[in-house]
Subunit: 131 residues, 3 copies
């Protein structure tokens, strides 16, 4: 199972990893099936959304910050509970169909590593399985 | 992989697609396994929740609108950032176990296509794989 | 497909079920693959997050309650719409990679059954499939 190495550079960041996931699909030799991306962190997640206009993911991060502000009167001593909540809202894995050896993403879709407590060095597992 | 054709008729709508997904399961001939529904759009999603009382999904849509209002001071020029955020909160795919050729949904569960920027013509992929 | 029996004891609760899911993985004999946990309820979900400090999940539940208060002016007569909304935000299934017969969770990760309308007797399906 290939492991992507990811370096984030903001506290919150939506990093487009579509190309790296496609590379794992190509390397797998799978024609028809599914790619799963799994994030083994508790203050980061993975999401699928618009990759064309970067303002979209900027709006997404801004809205998540409004809903779950960093300073939220939390108990957890490390002080990053907001990042844990955002990770649960966004989710820890995505699945994308594969056809003809390509990710069958919609026209506007990309795959984003969602950092909520960066900057950090992160990883994500990619598994590609035949249908 | 069968592709459902979906026509939504409100800006926000929770459309019960359980029957269409079950038809894809039946057509697949798979007895035991999993059905995955994947939405290739960035302003729509898919969710599992109560199909018995339509007031439940009305309450869900109302709450999502309260949390992420359409007018939110967003950057994205197209003006539909709220729909992108809701799609990420809800998610782009669901998996449901299959047994005896039937979706093993809980008593109250149905599968809903979640429209957040309609009305539009939409699609959803359904894949059924043996366990 | 093994079915976990779960008894919750609060209206909202994040119950660590990592050990039960690992038991299902061990019993399956699968070395490399994926474990999927599916919750067949409409007022509960499943999430992956920090299992080390219980304050983290307490903060998560507190934040979800702030975002979607129990009393929310809802239509659904049963009065538990908040629990339905939270279930959709959290999601009804998770997938975790398996290697060497063990859940390949990150260092801080655990799997939590998320109760939003307890206390109740609940179930969760676990399926383990080879890669």
């Amino acid at each position: 199972m290939p492991m992507l190495e990811i370096a984030t550079n903001g506290r919150s960041q939506a990093l487009d990893i579509t190309r790296q996931v496609q590379q794992a699909v190509s390397a797998s030799g799978v024609g028809e099936g599914w790619a799963t991306v799994y994030v083994p962190h508790t203050t980061a997640g993975v999401a699928i959304n618009e990759a064309a206009d970067p303002d979209v993911m900027a709006d997404v991060l801004m809205t998540l910050e409004r809903l779950v502000p960093w300073q939220g009167g939390f108990r957890h001593a490390e002080g990053n509970s907001a990042a844990h909540v955002k990770s649960i809202l966004v989710g820890s894995s995505v699945r994308v169909p594969v056809g003809g050896g390509r990710l069958l993403l919609g026209t506007w879709q990309g795959i984003f590593f969602m950092e909520f407590d960066g900057p950090r060095r992160r990883t994500a597992r990619v598994e590609v399985s035949p249908a």
